[in-house]
Symmetry: C2
Subunit: 125 residues, 2 copies
Amino acid sequence: MLRGPRARRHHGGRWRVLARVERFAEPALLLLLRERPAHGYDLLERLPELTGEARVEMGNLYRLLRGLEEEELVSSEWDASSPGPAKRRYAITPAGERLLDHWAEALRRSQERTARFLARYEERR
Amino acid sequence: MLRGPRARRHHGGRWRVLARVERFAEPALLLLLRERPAHGYDLLERLPELTGEARVEMGNLYRLLRGLEEEELVSSEWDASSPGPAKRRYAITPAGERLLDHWAEALRRSQERTARFLARYEERR
DNA sequence: TCTTACATGTGTCTTTCACATATAGATGTG
DNA sequence: CACATCTATATGTGAAAGACACATGTAAGA
């Protein structure tokens, strides 16, 4: 129950807690794409700037990108211009920008909840 | 992909984003129990003080409490003193308090990550 | 030639969580 | 008394997100 990907056993019989925001990869991708269009591998390398220690797994990233495209939150096309393996270049859509705005609001509310939690935690530490 | 329990369809064909912290019910329970021992139903009513709009579902709460007890993060005993249906009174253990401390640290790191995200979001809004 | 970096994917299992349902004692209301 | 409601604790089940492993192909460099 406490085991698993988000709270892993770790040397010394303690649980490693990450306290990640659910589906944080999604707003992170949208934010990176709002700054500039990019392809998947590029996003994979830039994501840790936003997600930190909690890396996004490669396979899931590409699935997430295709999911976002199905929802018309991003668009993509094969980029034949540059050399090397074929790459798909993604760009954010207006609907994607609106969703990012909603994420930002939700993240602000999340910040407030967590701040209240931490204040209450410190109260009688 | 964007559907489901955490991002629900909502009037007007838009996705409601909640941005909750994963497994937040766990530190919330530990914090409430550190303040004073309580039984499940009592915790169920007090949890919204910490979780806000994101309610904890009853069935999952009792499962979570038993899971925490298996890990010896809380202890419990049947409370025959008060009238009404039998209730199980939970208390936090020293291991539970240590885990709560780890959650607090993780939540602070989460706050910083989210703050960086929001700052970057505002940058070129 | 062989390895490594770049680039995009699929298969599959576990964990978390939502939603529905079951059980039972106590209390109030017609 | 019958019936509903509140208190209290559970189980069953299915969907979504994510971890981990693997597959495929191009290109550059040792």
